[in-house]
Subunit: 207 residues, 2 copies
DNA sequence: TAGATTGTTAATCGATTAACAATC
DNA sequence: TAGATTGTTAATCGATTAACAATC
């Protein structure tokens, strides 16, 4: 279980989801080529990725669906419930609170925070929203794994600092700000504007 | 302007945005090291990226901010207005319709579509929502560059097929489905669940 | 057994980092 | 001029693809 790259981990979750669908169709065995087909990857990549974990396939036959899923889930911790807190309950924040995909995969939003008091002290989609000024205090009683920032770029660094101070090691940053955090903290930047612009540029053929 | 990778294009937009901020501070010249600082990249990467375009820096001095921005904008087509259509006006779709970052960067949502008729024939954030059954017909009169899919995985392939049939070459796919499209069509997959799960796995130390 | 498919090693490809001569 | 910084080439690193012996 050494030196598994972020890309392999990411694809492992894609395999897990595909295998879940496949087992619903009462299919017990799948080849790397078939799994590649449904995930849009190559059979080489599938076999290579799986080989990072415990060998579980049968040459000439393929992979037992449930066994492969178990091995992958064990290795990427898919069995655990992941608690998420959200800072910034604007349009994007509320969409995240209501995102139907999360609960299916054990992602559990346990609290929201906002500086706008009119949004606070009520529930959205069963999730309580608190004033951001209470963040550090609240986090003493809540146990969370990931913090999501759906805040404007201007306040992003300040929010990140508070999260780091509260001990978060994993931040999702939807703002346009490049966050400065200690090396031990993992930041996933999701910048919709950049994604859209670069997709367009690529499709228009900058190459 | 040959063989510019997607990553270089993406970072070019990040540089453009940083340079816009910097020029507001009445700073005329910037070094690769300074630009690296504000974008969270390395000075080597900054210089290497810029070198893909027309040389514009002065050894010993740095880059003229406005000139560098112009060169980058020209090369990644940042001057153009990009028209976007949205299919799926659920929570995530509505957040996209209202996303404040888009208009600042010339991303212009021109229409929304949904199968739920109760969402149709009205405006959300000034954008008209139409029944998805009218998609192909409507697209004959609208001119759009990017199509965004914020629909459930189950209907994603069908929606993508309609978009391809209407001539779209660039799709943003927020669903969990791996889309099958012709090679000429560019797909950007943004799967929030996978992003969150893999961030957590990485932070927990799968390595 | 013959055919199919794994697990793994080697080859390729691409991206990042290092280094430094050129030059402002 | 001396110091600073570019543009570019070379070195390194990592990820993907190809290929095939092992084996079910």
């Amino acid at each position: 279980m050494k030196n598994i790259s972020h890309k392999v981990v990411e694809r492992s979750f894609i395999y897990i989801r595909a295998l879940t669908n496949i087992s619903r169709q009462n299919k017990d065995v799948i080849s790397s080529a078939e799994l590649a087909g449904v995930t849009g990857l190559s059979d080489n990549t599938v076999r290579k990725d799986i080989s990072h974990f415990r060998a579980v396939g049968k040459p000439g036959v393929g992979y037992e669906v449930s066994k492969l899923r178990n091995v992958l889930e064990d290795n990427v911790l898919h069995r655990e419930v992941i608690n998420v807190v959200l800072v910034g309950v604007g349009n994007l924040g509320q969409a995240i609170l209501k995102y139907p995909g999360f609960s299916r995969e054990r992602l559990n939003v346990i609290a929201g925070f906002d500086t706008d008091r009119s949004k606070c002290d009520r529930k959205i989609n069963d999730v309580m929203i608190y004033p951001f000024s209470d963040f550090s205090e609240k986090m003493k009683t809540l146990s969370a794994d990931i913090a999501v920032m759906a805040v404007p770029a201007i306040s992003a660094q300040e929010v990140a600092d508070r999260m780091v101070a509260s001990g978060f090691k994993a931040l999702v940053n939807f703002s346009a700000k490049a966050l400065e955090v200690p090396e031990r903290v993992f930041v996933k930047n999701i910048d919709l504007t950049i994604e859209f612009l670069s997709l367009y540029a690529n499709a228009r053929g900058i190459k």
